[in-house]
Every structure is written in C-alpha cells, then in structure tokens.
C-alpha cells in the first residue's frame, strides 16, 4: 500500500537562476537577493520556460508586497523532486495593478491569486473566477495595502460605520440582507446580485440557469449550501454544491468566515509578538506553525540554534505531527459516519501528547514555545521519562490498534477506496502538499526536499501511497505517524545537554532588511512564511502560505462526479483547520 521513497537532490536555486538568466537573456534580471525579476508582459513566457525547461513544476507560494510606489507580486517556484524554491518577482503600478494570471500554467495559483486580489486589489488577467475569497463580495477596500488602516485599531477608515447604530444592540441577521445595513459599500455597488452570482462565459461558478436545463430525464438540479453552519465542514467553511440527485455536478468552496486579517495584524505586531499569534493559525498543529515562523526570522537574522534546542524542536514537532494525525484520522472516520467512537479513541492519545505540551510549554494549545534562536523554556525533569514511555511503548500500540481496527475494515475501505482521486500530475499542478500530495504518489516532504532543523541526521522515510484517493491519504497519515515515532526514537537518546536559546540577549529583536521564504512540513502540508523586513521593529510584510488553504484549491476537482457523502469524506481527507484556511 504505502511505499517509502528517497528524494533525489535537485540543483541549487542559484544554478537555476543562472541558467534561466542565460536562456532568457534580457527578459529577466536578477536582483540583490538572488530573485528573478520579470516584467508583467514577459511573465507567462518566463514561467512557462521555468516550468517546462527547468523542472520547476510546483508553485509553492504566491503573494504580493505593497511598496507604496508599486506592487511586487512574488512567486516561489520549486521542483516536486525537491530543492530550495527560486524566487520570481514582477512589479505593477499601484494605480491600475494588473498582472497576467498563472492559472493556465499552475492551477494551484487559483486561490492564491484570488487572495492577492482580495487583499491588494491586483487584477490577474486571465483568471477565470477572479473574485474576493476571504473578504465578502462587496467589501470596500484592500486590507493588506499599506494605506488601508485597520478598523478599530488604526481608526482612520472603518469598513463598518458602526457596530451598534442608535447605541442599541441588534441582530444583524434581522436585516434580511446578507450583511445588514451597517456596511460601507462601494459607490456603484447595489448588492442586487447577492447570493446569485451571475456567471460569465467560461466561469466555473455555480450556474443557476443550468438548474433549469437539468438532465435528460427532466429532473431539476439542486443548489445546496453545505456550511457554514453544517456538522461536517470542520468549522465555518462553506461548499456550494450543484447536485443532480445525489451526484455532485459542481462545487465551489467559499471561505473567509473566520478571516481576521492575520497578516495585517502580523505587520502591526512586533517580530516577537507574532510568535504566540502563529499558534492561532493551525491550532491542531501549533508547534509546527511556530517553528516555521521562527525558522524564517532566524534565517533573516542569521541566528544559530543550539543543539539542544534543535532536538527539542524536532521532538515537539514530531509529537505534534502524531497528535494531529490522530485527530484527523479520528474525524475522518466521523465524517464517514462512525458515531464518534474512533475519534474519541484517537483523541485520548492526543490528550496525552497535549499533557506533555502543557508540561513543557505551560499551555496545551496556544503553546508560544519557540523563540528566535531556540525555545523559551528547557524541558522539565519529569518530561523525558514520560515521553520515553509514550514513544517507546504507548504510541506504537495506539497506532497499531487504530491500524488494526480501521485499515482493513470493509466499510471503511468501501467508503474510502477510489473516492476523490487526484492524479500525481494534478496534485502537483494544484500545489497540494502534505498527505494529499504524498497520497497521490509524489514523494515530496519539505523535511527531505528542503531540509531544515536537524532532520538530515535521522533515518526516516517519506511515506507515499499511489492511489491518490481518500484511503491513500489515510494510509499516508498512518505511515507518517510511524515514521514520526521512528524519528522520536532516534532523537530522544541523542538529546544533548546545554543551551536552549542562542544569540544575543535582547529585549527586542533586530531583523536586518531583507526577505525570506521559509517553509516547514506541518502535518497538513507545506507551511510557509514569507517575511519582508525593512529593519524596523515589526515585519514590513508577513505572509503565511497555508497548506489547508492551498490544498482546498483541488477540492472541486476531487469532488466532481462523486456523491454528497463522498464530498464529506474528501473534505475530511484534506483535513482542513479553518484557523489556517481563513487566517
């Protein structure tokens, strides 16, 4: 079922940049940071060349930076065979920001471009469905532009005229519009088309008129909203389904209900103040989120992390992975209709890991444990004996138990096998990562592809499965828990004594001007942080490449043609955490 593969080392980014520069001549330039810079008009050609001639088939990250005089759109491309990402930048003017869309080359650019449009107002020419994704349709303003002031904190501009007009509390829902009357709307916007998007030619949004056309038997299609208030959407996530009977004809994910403009707040916070904030992204895998951010800032500052801190990080991250996979397997079974029994048994194991987290960090979920250059506290004395028992005795048995009861269960196999199939080519094209990508047979794990920390010291394998269905993703998770245990068994005895926090003691970190994209393998996939510093006390740009968010790009593709019940299972197999999707 699962297999283990070693990743072949890819050429260093600098070599790729040089080769590209040689091939494409004056169409691209290389800036100080080693990034390729290209004009918007040449973007499509250059990216196509990068993908086809240089093997950069994976769009890891796509975001933008507002430099006040121009917008810079930043792409991080890498190869699915591994290697550090190369940076590609293009600029556009602020008055009429327009950049060609990469949708045709990397379908995985879909949601990321919509996010950039939503946050910066940069129009991506050629994108088939360019509309807001995190903010609601009709919102006035581009929240991540530097001249946009945050409501209630920076007070210059409020998107809402008041939360309590007339000084009295009332329920916004009673206004019977989708947002009530307390919203400042764009001048030309009437709101007439709310809830009934008018599809244009070539769009893949829900086609209301198609309902009337129906099928050959003359039955009507149904448009059904699954979510935001629905038992199996794992939070406030919405899927708008077009059903023919019970078969899914079309699906549109709608998100942003939990959007809190994490990145804008991150740019207001001090560098260190962001650390507890990253816990709130993926609250099931909180320590991985912290590690990604710490890694990014450490590399920008050029900090060395002491040995002991590296080991502690690996131990924490792998424990984190195990408990997160327990959680997701348990709730995947819930989505299949098992009445909470598997999830409660899985949660029992998770609770034990959380107890350990509480012991080491003082908190079960919002750990706030990593620091730039190490970790905040050393492990308490009682920690090591407990974690040894857990790793060497209990966890193995727990995983075996789950494996024994679920993996060969006939109903489980029947519900999961052959459902939500994603081919390896599509999985790469859609920029999926984590178990979704590895379940499609692509041995891409950031710990191996672009090593960080001390993962290169341990003997472990990248778990993959070839089928690309829900069952494969489940099997990958089971396999990964075992690999994590393997890493833990090697790391625990090797743990050295010594410092836990490197670098100079300082009240406030000084991050030199520059930028970096750092990524870690979180349980849900490639979690990336793109930070830009201008030397000040807070980040100039702070972007989170959320694995859940990007994985959702492939949801519609996976669900079409399957049944309603399968949609729930497929969503469960992607295993989203809304805190990270909506940011």
């Amino acid at each position: 079922m699962t297999k283990q593969t070693d990743v072949v080392a890819a050429p260093a980014p600098a070599d790729v940049v040089a080769a590209v520069h040689k091939q494409l001549g004056e169409r691209v330039t290389v800036d100080d940071g080693g990034a390729l810079v290209v004009g918007p008009s040449n973007l499509i050609d250059v990216v196509r060349a990068l993908r086809d001639d240089h093997g950069l088939d994976y769009l890891a990250n796509l975001t933008a930076v507002d430099w006040l005089d121009r917008f810079e759109v930043v792409y991080h491309l890498c190869s699915s065979a591994g290697g550090a990402p190369i940076v590609l930048k293009t600029t556009t003017d602020r008055a009429n920001p327009r950049v060609p869309s990469l949708f045709g080359i990397y379908p995985g650019a879909d949601f990321q471009e919509r996010e950039v449009y939503d946050m910066f107002g940069i129009r991506f020419a050629g994108h088939p469905n360019l509309k807001r994704i995190l903010m609601w349709e009709g919102f006035a303003g581009w929240p991540l532009r530097k001249d946009w002031r945050e409501a209630y904190f920076e007070q210059e501009h409020k998107p809402l005229t008041s939360r309590w007009p007339d000084g009295q509390f009332f329920f916004g829902e009673d206004k019977l519009t989708d947002w009530g009357s307390n919203t400042k709307l764009p001048p030309a916007y009437t709101g007439a088309e709310i809830g009934r998007p008018k599809p244009q030619e070539g769009q893949y949004v829900v086609d209301i008129d198609a309902l009337r056309r129906g099928t050959s038997f003359g039955s009507d299609r149904l448009v059904v909203n699954m979510g935001p208030q629905h038992p199996s959407t794992h939070g406030v996530f919405q899927m708008r389904l077009v059903l023919d009977g019970e078969t899914v004809v079309d699906l549109e994910p709608v998100m942003g209900y939990m959007h809190r403009n994490h990145e804008k707040i991150g740019e207001r916070n001090l560098w260190l103040g962001n650390m507890p904030f990253t816990d709130r992204l993926d609250y099931i895998a909180q320590l991985g989120s912290e590690w990604g951010y710490a890694l990014c800032v450490e590399r920008m500052m050029g900090l060395e992390v002491p040995e002991r801190a590296e080991y502690i990080r690996v131990i924490m991250a792998e424990l984190n992975r195990i408990q997160s996979h327990f959680w997701s397997i348990g709730f995947l079974l819930n989505d299949l209709g098992a009445f909470f029994t598997p999830s409660l048994y899985a949660i029992e194991e998770r609770e034990i890991v959380l107890d350990l987290f509480e012991m080491a960090t003082g908190s079960r979920l919002m750990c706030n444990y990593m620091r730039f250059g190490g970790v905040a506290y050393d492990l308490p004395d009682a920690f090591m004996p407990l974690v040894n028992v857990l790793v060497n005795e209990r966890m193995e048995r727990a995983i075996d138990e789950i494996d024994a009861y679920l993996t060969n269960n006939e109903i489980v196999m029947e519900r999961m096998k052959g459902v939500g199939v994603l081919t390896p080519e599509l999985a790469i094209a859609y920029s999926t990562s984590g178990p979704v990508l590895r379940g499609s047979g692509v041995a891409y794990d950031v710990r191996r592809a672009d090593p960080y920390g001390i993962y290169d010291r341990f003997d472990w394998n990248v778990v993959t499965a070839n089928e690309g269905d829900v069952y494969a993703r489940y099997a990958v998770r089971i396999g990964e828990m075992r690999e994590s245990l393997k890493i833990l068994r090697q790391a625990l005895p090797q743990m050295p004594a010594g410092e836990i926090l490197g670098g100079k003691k300082a009240w406030q970190v000084r991050v030199p001007a520059g930028e970096h994209y750092a990524r870690v393998e979180n349980p849900r996939g490639e979690l990336g942080y793109y930070c830009v510093s201008d030397g000040k006390a807070n980040p100039y740009r702070y972007h989170v490449r959320s694995p859940c968010f990007v994985n959702l790009t492939s949801l519609a593709e996976m669900c079409k043609g399957y049944k309603v019940a399968d949609v729930v299972a497929i969503l469960g197999s992607i295993d989203i955490v809304l805190g990270e999707v909506d940011r």
């Binding site: 019970e246 209709g337 098992a338 409660l344």
Partner: protein
C-alpha cells in the same frame, strides 16, 4: 363486545402507549449510557441517580422549546408528518404477545386476559403492512419542509425502506413456511412445542431480518435519511421541540417493535423454548421478564452497532439491498420450501 371487555381493551391500549413511551425514553437513555461507555465517556449522570431522570429532563426541555415553523412549508402536511410517524410506530406493537394469557374473575365472570392487544390470523402481514406505512411520515416531512436536506433525506428514506422491506418480506415468508401460520401466537407456540427457537432453523432468514430491521428503522449504519455528516438532520431538519421529539419517539418505538418482532419470530417470544422443556411453562410475570430481556438484548445490539460501524454509502446500500439481500432471501425461501415439501410428503 361488552363494556367490561371494552374497558379491558382501553386499559391495554393505555398500558401499551405508556410502556412504549417509557420504553422510548429509557432506550434513549440506555443508548447514551452504553455508547458513552463504549467511547470511554461517562454519559448523562447529572439528572437524578446515575442520570436516570435524564429522559424526563429532556422531555421537559423539549416541551418548553420554541416551535419554529419555517416559511414556505406545506403547513397541513408539515404538522401531519410527525403524527403519522408516531401513530404508525405505536400501532405496529398491537399484535405483539408479551406473556401467556391469564384468567381472572371480574364481576362474577371468568375472563381470559391476553397480554396482547389483538391477535388475528394475519398478524404478521399486519405488522409488515403497518411498518411499511412508516415511510409516509418521513417522506411527508421531507417534502413538506421545503428544505433541500429534508427533501433528500425523505427521498432516500423512501427508496431505502421499500428496498429493504422487499428482502424482509421474502425472508419472513420462510418463517411462515416453517410454522404454517401468520398468527403471532401460533408462531410462538410452534417454537415452544418444538422446543427450538426459529433462529436455529432459519439462521439466514434471521440474518436478513436483522439487517433489514436496522435499515427499516433507519439506524446506523443505514441511517441515511438523517445522515448527520451529509444531511444535517435529514427529514426532520426543520422540526423543533416536541415535533422533533415525535419523530425521535417513532424511531425508538420502531426499534422496540422490530426487536419485539425478532424476539417473537426467531427467539421464542415470551417463552424460553429449550429451557421450558425442563422447567415447564413459566408464570406470566416471568414471561414478561423473558420478553423484555430479549427486547433489551436486541436494543443493545442496535446500540452496539451504532457505536461501532461507519455508514455505508447510499448507492452501495441500495445495491446491497437489491443485489445481495433479495437473491439470498429468495434462495433461502426456495430451499426452505423444497425441504419442507420433502419432509411433509
């Protein structure tokens, strides 16, 4: 039928309704407790000793809940549906014998009191007919609610229940073949006379009956009409408070009824067919205890299955009903008929 007899009938009806309501309440309690134990939880334990008053607390809560009637519902059908569901559920229990008859003297007259509301020669057919009416409540609710989840739930339930009813009907024909009567008492007496519960003679029919009974009552793993993960609450999505409680009541009373039917048809009803060879006929109160024990055992199985097994997918369920269960039950019927023909000749 004189006045005293009418009084007895009315009393029996009252007892049936009261017992079924209490049974419903404590089946929900049993379910919550048992599932909680299976999931390493405690279950309800705050209302009364061991949480025993929990069903009462639930009932009071439901009565005091706001009743929301959504716009766009077909009002008459919307209110009719829960009543239909519940009435059908209660009616099915009418022919269930729970103990041997006793004779008492009322007003100088010696009367036989049967622990069964009515027994007639087509009782089994009556039960099948009544339980198949249960689908009306679900479909009407799904249609009247003007809600897509309810609609899909209602349609699913209709298709599922009729599909499984077919297999159940054919499977029960084999029982009738063996016993040679459709009367509940005859079936029980036959098992006592032969000293064998029918489950021994007709294991395949029992298996099919068990599967189809779970499907007929819309319980996990066949709880598609109300599959929470897909359809939220299915056909009763738009029902609140006591209206919802009526559907809930119908589901659990149906569980009790099919459990009782299983006990009667396959497990010797209120008798212990093998044991009574040695002990002789047991007194009526022991009969009731025996019947109750069998029903509770069957209910426990319902609950156990719910706590253990994930849901099948709907299209697979339909295929399973039509392509697996129906042929098997037909083959079982043919085999039974041939064997009996040979034995009877």
């Amino acid at each position: 039928m004189d006045a005293i007899e009418l009084g007895i009938v009315a009393l029996k009806c009252l007892v049936i309704v009261a017992v079924l309501l209490t049974g419903f309440a404590y089946t929900t309690f049993l379910e919550r407790k048992v599932i909680a134990r299976m999931q390493q939880r405690l279950g309800p334990n705050r209302a009364g000793p061991f949480g025993l008053l929990q069903p009462a607390a639930d009932g009071v809560k439901l009565i005091f809940k706001e009743n929301i009637t959504p716009v766009g519902v077909d009002r008459f059908v919307y209110f009719l549906a829960p009543i239909v569901s519940m009435v059908v559920a209660i009616m099915a229990f009418a022919v269930m014998p729970v103990a041997d008859p006793i004779t008492v003297t009322i007003g100088g007259q010696v009367r036989e009191i049967r622990f069964q509301l009515a027994d007639f020669n087509v009782a089994l057919l009556y039960v099948l007919g009544i339980t198949s009416l249960a689908v009306y409540g679900l479909v009407l609710a799904g249609w009247a609610s003007n809600n897509k989840f309810a609609l899909i739930g209602g349609l699913r339930s209709a298709a599922q229940m009729v599909s499984y009813e077919l297999a159940m009907g054919v499977a029960l024909v084999s029982v009738v073949l063996v016993v040679g009567s459709l009367s509940m008492n005859d079936i029980v007496d036959w098992q006592v006379a032969k000293g064998l519960p029918l489950i021994v003679l007709q294991p395949v029919a029992f298996g099919i009956y068990a599967i189809t009974a779970i499907a007929e009552t819309n319980r996990a793993p066949f709880d598609f009409p109300e599959a929470e993960q897909e359809l939220v609450a299915g056909y009763h999505t738009e029902y609140t408070g006591m209206r919802f409680a009526l559907f809930f009541m119908a589901e659990y009373i149906n569980m009790i009824t099919v459990s009782g039917l299983a006990a009667t048809l396959f497990l010797g009803g209120h008798h212990l067919p093998f044991v009574e060879r040695f002990t002789g006929n047991l007194p009526w109160f022991v009969d009731i205890g025996v019947f109750l024990a069998k029903v509770i055992l069957a209910l426990f199985l319902f609950i156990w299955i719910r706590a253990t097994i994930p849901r099948l997918r709907y299209d697979r369920l339909m295929a399973f009903g039509w392509k697996v269960l129906l042929p098997i039950s037909l083959a079982n019927l043919a085999l039974t008929a041939v064997v009996i023909a040979f034995l009877a000749r």
